[in-house]
Each structure stands twice: as structure tokens, then as C-alpha cells.
Symmetry: C2
Subunit: 190 residues, 2 copies
């Protein structure tokens, strides 16, 4: 477990620097969790008590429409943060599902603990500020890609940006992420 906490520490220290005391304090506010493939991290209607940092593994965050169709909001793997941010932030029941595409391990941070370490250790507030900002920028890029690009060029763009992801994820899920039917995706390229 020490080694795993060290990965998280490295993750913070890519952005901000921390003293050993600060790190010990921060670390003590995380919980460990482990799930197998197909298990749920978050389900609609249930409380969302944590934000999760992924130690290793792969999850998908998605919502299901009235026709039962799945729409993928995000794939998240090692080093990513994932949650139902809306529900977590507002402490409301979940609006999306998050489940594991591979066996996965997480460090879990509650809202209360997040606010606590942000207020106690300014570097943590800065860390999350910068992380959120990067996340915001990424989503803006994705929106632009949805507005400006055809499904096929979104696919090429993704192949280029996250080639490793494509290896690990069935194409029908990639299709759902891109906002295209699996049949159409299957007719692209190659």
C-alpha cells in the first residue's frame, strides 16, 4: 500500500510541491478501494460519497437514455480522477453510472475531506484548481470536436490522441463515446 500511496503523491507533485508533513496529512484523508471488472463505482440514484483517483484499471462513466442506450461521458484509467462530479459536489443522488471495464483500484476522497485538505494545505487547493482547469479545457476541446468534426474525423482524432485506450476498450464503447452508432463506426477507415 505504501507504494500505491506514493503514486498518488507523485501525482500531486507533478503540479505542486508538498512537505512530508503536508503529505502525511493529505494521505490520511484518502480511503482505499478495490473493484473487479463489471462492478459499479457509482450508480444513478445512489449517494456519491467520493471522488476517485484511479491507481490502476479502467472505468467508464456513462448515462442511459430513455431508450436504454448508453452514452459515454468519460473513460478513466490510472492517474485519472473520476466521479459524478455534479452529484458529488451538490451531495445529491447520482445521475450517471461508473463501472469497471477492468479490475481497478482507487483512492477515495470525500467532499468533507477534500474541503478540509484544501483549506488546510493551500497547495492542495491549487492542485485541484489547476486539475479542474485542465479538465475544463479538455471538455471544451471535446465540445468543439462534437460541433465541428464528422464522426469519422473524431474517431481518427481519438485514435491519435489515446491509441492505448482503443486497445483496451471494445469499439462499441468507443462509438458511444464519439456519439456514433457502432455500425457506423465499424464502417469507417481503417
Amino acid at each position: 500500500m505504501h507504494a500505491k500511496y506514493n503514486l498518488l503523491k507523485q501525482h500531486f507533485e507533478e503540479i505542486v510541491s508538498l512537505t512530508n508533513e503536508e503529505w502525511d496529512f493529505i494521505q490520511s484523508h484518502f480511503e482505499y478501494k478495490s473493484l473487479k471488472k463489471h462492478q459499479f463505482l457509482i450508480q444513478t440514484g445512489q449517494s456519491v460519497d467520493f471522488e476517485y483517483w484511479i491507481i490502476n484499471g479502467l472505468v467508464k462513466a456513462y448515462s442511459i437514455d430513455d431508450k436504454g442506450k448508453e452514452h459515454i461521458l468519460q473513460f478513466a484509467m490510472e492517474n485519472y480522477w473520476v466521479s459524478d462530479h455534479y452529484a458529488f459536489q451538490h451531495q445529491e443522488p447520482g445521475t450517471i453510472f461508473v463501472d469497471c471495464l477492468e479490475d481497478s483500484e482507487f483512492f477515495c476522497l470525500s467532499l468533507e475531506n477534500r474541503e478540509k485538505i484544501c483549506l488546510e494545505v493551500p497547495a492542495v487547493a491549487n492542485f485541484f484548481r489547476i486539475k479542474s482547469n485542465h479538465g475544463y479545457i479538455n471538455l471544451q476541446q471535446r465540445i468543439l470536436s462534437l460541433l465541428t468534426m464528422t464522426a469519422e474525423s473524431r474517431y481518427e482524432y481519438l485514435l491519435n490522441k489515446l491509441p492505448k485506450l482503443i486497445q483496451r476498450v471494445p469499439k462499441k464503447l468507443i462509438a458511444s463515446y464519439l456519439g456514433v452508432s457502432r455500425e457506423t463506426l465499424s464502417r469507417f477507415n481503417s
Copy 2:
């Protein structure tokens, strides 16, 4: 100008509390700017020196594709923040345009000053952290709406969510924001 700075102070204090000394320090890191309708705040290829808080007015942030078509990333009005966040953060040339749909006034914050006030005043880091997080959540909602809803229901949703905005913005720009042609938008509803 005092009164306008006060609006900004109120904006901060919706999220965090600040002492008078802290506020004076923060305030001194903003510059004032005023633009007329049709003037540009940000242009592609030019450096993006600031993040802007809108005192009053209305702007659109958009990119132009290879066919010369405009795609609207964001409308921003009083109390909103706007910039080319990517270019600003990475100090690279702008990738989008931002121009005024109405005469507008801004408080401008440089990257250097932002980092300075975030490091000096932890409440500011927390303010931007929370703001970014809200922004992230909003963009996730928009992505979901692009993935799951028809153009028509996206329009209804927007009408419902930001009725005032529709009043102030030509429908062809709303169409561009929704990712639909203006002819198609015109055929919706009533």
C-alpha cells in the same frame, strides 16, 4: 469604478470570504477594459494575456472551421469568466475568437497575477478551484446533451435554462451553439 470593483468582490464572496486587506490586494491585480459591440477580445493567432470577468455586456467565444463556418463554444455575459483557456494556460497563440455581441466591460487577470493571488491568498485558489469545478460540471452536461438529445430538445432545454440569453442573441448564433443549421432551428417549435 469603485462600484464595479464591488461587483467583482461580491462575485468572489458568493464563494469565499475575504478580509478587506485581502480584497485590496486581489483587486490591485485586475485591469479594466471596455469594448464596443463587434470588437474582439481574443483572436486566433494572437497572444491571450488575460482571463476576463465580464462586468456587463455579452460576448461569444467561437472557432471557425475550414469551411468558414462559425461554431460557438460559449456565450458569456455579466458575472461570467471568459478566455481562450487553453491558450491562456499554456501561453500559446489563441485558437478561438471572442468578440462582443453588445458593448461590454471587463476586469482582466493575467496568468502571472492569477497565480500570484492564488498563492498569496488561499481563498482565491479555493474560489477558482470551485469555479472551475462548476464550469467542468456544466461542460459535462453540455456534452451529455450533445450525445443524448436531438437538436430540437437541446433547443427546448436551452430555452428553459437560459431564457434571457435567447432574447439577447440572434437565433442563428443559438443554432451554431446547439450544433444545428439555422434553417433547421427555424423549423423547430413555435
